[in-house]
Symmetry: C2
Subunit: 406 residues, 2 copies
């Protein structure tokens, strides 16, 4: 019997309890021992819930319980999660978490603490919900030099963008609907401003290169400025708009960005719609690989957390090595990155003089019913050169273009 504790009885925490109960037999077989939730930390009580008798309000009860060998942290946020996780590791307990804020901020030091104590700190659910991506990066793609990671890593924004695309509704309407359906939080900033996806690409990039990408240093743009007009241009051009979190290695420098991109039907992530997540990885020997699935949701996320618990139970007393040092990975200057841009500019497409003067020859696009402006696509150019050229025109909006193909 392996006894565990769950910190936080919210959506994911209750999912973990449910998954362990639902699949008890197969999980016992795979872990080699039965796994029992002994304690659940929450400020609230849950009268009538089967878990009520296991509820504790004081984390010390868990930390000081020598029977508990694995602690599941699913509270979210950096504090007090960070303090609790450190104390659990110090007390000789392995930790599994779904908390990307914690992992992006303190992953490598927690990994180091676990390693020193022959424990494990696992965080499969922190990126891509149920999709196995942390373990494949850490254990399966170890023969490769990763050259590119591009992901749709946030289900909320992907749901909003998919709805806007397919139904022509506005950002505000769609956000409201997503909030009513529980796909977006009342304070949706972390999702819609790209902060969530940014933390996730920071984690994946750190794992790919073995040192720490500071998420604060990743250029990050959200989807709040995307309008129905953008989607009309995109449709005319054969593109869709997706919030991509992406990093690549070029000339020994690693670049990363989180932003809305236009992608076409040859892009590996073109068909990743609604709340699905997708992650495309290119390695120098494996070539292209992709992973798709439910990027969020109670049970898929809990599935990933419980898989980590199984791994911790299987590896009791043995650290599963993860290469991610606290050493900082210095990102390349985002202004050096070269790509095409889609631009909307005030004026009439019959007069391209200003646009040509700033950008040279461009491919223009107009949409019936959108007047007083037109769109164009630049040749590949650096972010820096783009910013300079854009000053010379009466630009309304621009969206980057990602031309990855599979």
């Amino acid at each position: 019997m392996a006894k565990i504790a769950v910190l936080g009885y919210g959506t994911v925490g209750s999912g973990v309890v449910e998954v362990l109960e639902t699949n008890k037999d197969s999980i016992t077989k795979r872990a080699g021992r039965e796994i029992e939730v002994k304690s659940v930390l929450d400020l609230r009580d849950f009268p009538g819930d089967l878990i009520q008798e296991k509820i504790v309000h004081d984390v010390d009860v868990i930390i000081n319980d020598p029977e508990i060998e694995v602690v599941v942290e699913v509270m979210g946020g950096v504090e007090p999660a960070f303090t609790f996780v450190k104390r659990a590791l110090e007390a000789g307990k392995s930790v599994c978490t779904s908390n990307k804020a914690l992992v992006a901020a303190h992953g490598p030091e927690l990994l180091e603490m676990a390693k020193k104590r022959n424990l494990n700190f696992m965080f499969e659910a922190s990126v891509g919900g149920g999709i196995p991506i942390i373990r494949p990066l850490n254990q399966s793609l170890t023969a490769d030099e990763i050259t590119k990671i591009t992901g749709i890593l946030n289900g909320t924004t992907n749901y909003i963008l998919t709805k806007m695309d397919k139904e022509g509704s506005t950002y505000e309407e769609t956000l409201k609907e997503a909030q009513e359906l529980g796909y977006a939080e009342r304070n949706p900033e972390a999702d819609v401003e790209g902060f969530d996806a940014c933390r996730k690409i920071a984690i994946l990039t750190s794992l790919a290169y073995g040192s720490t990408v500071k998420f604060e240093e990743i250029r990050t743009e959200g989807i709040t400025k995307i309008t129905t007009k953008d989607f009309k241009y995109a449709e005319k051009l054969g593109y869709v708009v997706k919030l991509l979190a992406t990093s690549c290695k070029e000339n020994d420098k690693v670049y990363a960005i989180t932003a809305p991109f236009m992608i076409n039907s040859t892009h590996p992530l073109y068909n990743v719609n609604d709340v699905l997540n997708g992650i495309y990885i290119h390695g120098n020997v494996i070539g292209n690989v992709m992973f798709f699935g439910a990027g969020a949701g109670k049970l898929p996320t809990a599935s990933a957390v419980v898989a980590d618990v199984v791994d911790c139970v299987k590896h009791k007393g043995k650290n599963v090595m993860t290469v991610w040092s606290v050493e900082k990975l210095e990102l390349g200057d985002a202004d050096d990155e070269v790509r095409k841009f889609f631009v909307r500019v005030k004026g009439n497409v019959s007069d391209l003089s200003a646009v040509n003067a700033a950008f040279g020859n461009v491919q223009t696009v107009t949409v019936d019913g959108i007047d007083g402006e037109f769109g164009f696509i630049t040749e590949p150019m650096s972010e820096r050169a783009f910013a300079e050229a854009a000053k010379k025109i009466d630009m309304i909006h621009r969206i980057r273009i990602d031309e990855t193909t599979i």
Copy 2:
């Protein structure tokens, strides 16, 4: 320093040597030690090749070398690979293999041998080439009851079917072209008759349920009877034809089949073309996940083999538990499986009396230029009921339909 030996210096074997050299630095970092190929077993000599000085013609040199801690078996075929792998394990060496014939025939007993000796027997490259799928099934999807696995697991046949679809060429022409390009072997039977894909779904299904699926017991049909006419009907219906290797669990019974299927654009594997492989998995809590990538090829396959070598080096003296017992998994009767069928029948679509008498109401389809016959799609029915009904009509050919959606 970790010293290894490679058994067989063919495509994959030379790929393993190349990958270890190309990515030496990052592999050393991930393995924790430098990995060096000390010996390569081959009947041939390779004068001028850097590996020549490491060539040995007698496997005993490797078995009896106490410095060698991991043996890579990439010879293919059951014997002498099986004997060599057993001897390597008995001599205290972990083994990594890309050999699906060996794994499908003897996987669980080799796993057991490795476990007893605190060694590892790993076979990520045996299914899906470079795509991480064995390790995710074994270590990431451990919280789930797997309810369905559907894969395009053979690159050769997928290349042939994609070409026939897109270019309208015949099976014979396309096979010849695939052979000239090196995508198909001179004796293509293992691929085109579905035997290769069958072994792979046997391996995946065994891992999903923890006991042994005998590949010989999986109903297996190849692609040799698929004609350009079938593709014309498929196109008219919005389908493509793919060789699927699939298993599912229904009412506590596991069913498996390898055969050409028609699938439509909502199917998760619809866009898996050319030599790509794709694997769709449904778990009862994770929902749908998918994995795509290069299913074959020298470097992608070698990437997966080397990742296993890294894992073996990292886990020296520690067995990574794989749940796959020698106990036989009794498959459900394939005749009980229920699905729709596409059928081509002699006659004129204006006279449906025989078809209706045998199959009830059906959806018919005709293609301009294909005379003297027509097509129809049945309602869902068991294989047994289909076979009975088919006797009552003048059937030309039938293709199963898979209606999995994501």
